[in-house]
Symmetry: C2
Subunit: 309 residues, 2 copies
Amino acid sequence: VIVVLSGGVGAARFLSGLVQVVDPAEITAVVNTGDDTVLHGLHISPDIDTVTYTLAGAVNPVTGWGLTGETWAAMSALERLGGASWFRLGDGDLGTHLYRTGRLAEGATLSEVTAEVARAWNLSLRIVPVTNDRLRTRLRLVDGEEVEFQDYFVRLRHSVPVSAVRFDGAAQARPAPGVLEALGEADLVVVAPSNPVVSIAPIVAVPGVREVLESRRESVVAISPIIAGAALKGPADRLLTELTGASSVTSVARLISPWAATLVIDVVDKDLVGEVEAEGVHAVVAPTVMHDRDASAELARAVLAVHRR
Amino acid sequence: VIVVLSGGVGAARFLSGLVQVVDPAEITAVVNTGDDTVLHGLHISPDIDTVTYTLAGAVNPVTGWGLTGETWAAMSALERLGGASWFRLGDGDLGTHLYRTGRLAEGATLSEVTAEVARAWNLSLRIVPVTNDRLRTRLRLVDGEEVEFQDYFVRLRHSVPVSAVRFDGAAQARPAPGVLEALGEADLVVVAPSNPVVSIAPIVAVPGVREVLESRRESVVAISPIIAGAALKGPADRLLTELTGASSVTSVARLISPWAATLVIDVVDKDLVGEVEAEGVHAVVAPTVMHDRDASAELARAVLAVHRR
């Protein structure tokens, strides 16, 4: 069994490679819910949906999130009324949010709803939210204001400097059923190339997760989302610079070092192997840019090879 | 100023005639909210939306509710997930519910949201919910089960016998700002040809409304939704039979008699003038079937003529 700690787009692309080289029934994605939000009354779980839609082959290939062939009638109507439309909700995507919100109101857990949606898409990998309890990534901006993750990420287009990140609710959150067991029993735990500060860190902040990772550090392999100092997507590079002083595979290595023994870095960063290993993390060099499904499968094979070695 | 006590489709059609013969700025529709419900987390106000969409010229002319040219991508997605889809929410219509739910969550009142939506549709008549507080029509079925209005009306297709109706929350509900003032100052109060048991009764059940109507009984003119014993749309005839023993203009007259001096009945019921007047209600005979906008305007003129007489 392989467990993948997952954020959104980067994790979804890695998983779409992994399912080509491993029986999907042997894969559990433990997904960040710190990005979750309630908008217009609807419970939205962006990372879970991105993973689900991508594995279902239904994701919009241009954006990497949302559904392909989406229509926008609800958003147009909302905009005409003057409603907040900065968070784009396509019509088909709204069906997912209506379903989730309705089921949660009936008393179902987010785990249950997530499994139901995955089943409806005929997925056989397990997709599990890290917690069914409230977990909210909040960012303090340099002007002192604290905002919700989606406010920062979408509304402010992650273009404002951040001075601190915290995970509201994390201390009280319980891991979702099966999360600690899966992490404890997995042959391999992969940390997907997701934002270490706002996608992976909230997963590790849920009580018990960090402890089980630390106890199995040799089985934990991370993939750097930073390539030549930059993130392919999103604000990982900016956030690393703002919060740790530098954006490099070395700063990623420093963050994960307490609970991950290995970091896969891109071939363009091969000269930094020594720096990474000075952080106490074994460095493995491989092509990590997932241009397409073949590249994703190749990266998955490289990660499995680390593990088998 | 003319105030119209309004349910859904019948009221909307009457109002679409009235705006042709009276300056819309002189019209206030006080709309039933006993049909309101929360579905999938969204606050839905079916009667308010039917009135708004109809007056905006945007209503689906076939159903009498929902938007014309509507698409159904969200419902299709919800259905595929196995979600409850008996209450049909079109994609454009969802924009309204997203807007309303978001604004209510921000602390706006239903009155404010309703006015904002009407303004966005460039309507100059006032559309006011009877109350901003919770009001829920509940029906007891003959098997003893009590259901919400939309469960009865949509899910059960109003085809099950009912033994009682109550308006949950009515005793605690306060009339929305301006409702009692408008009723007290209006030159004419029209009771639209809406279901007297489940559309008009919840309006009258809000504390203060009945009292002001009683005090101005001579200025209150109702239009019978029952024609030759039957309702043109919906379960008014069944409910009248089940709850009052008969469905006729006479049973309508009996219900409204305490607070309305006049009932407009259709020409096909002209032989029942005596029966109606025996209930203490002045009967006026006019064509009441609103086939089209011209017929609606004609009915509006007939109602105004009653008043001017």
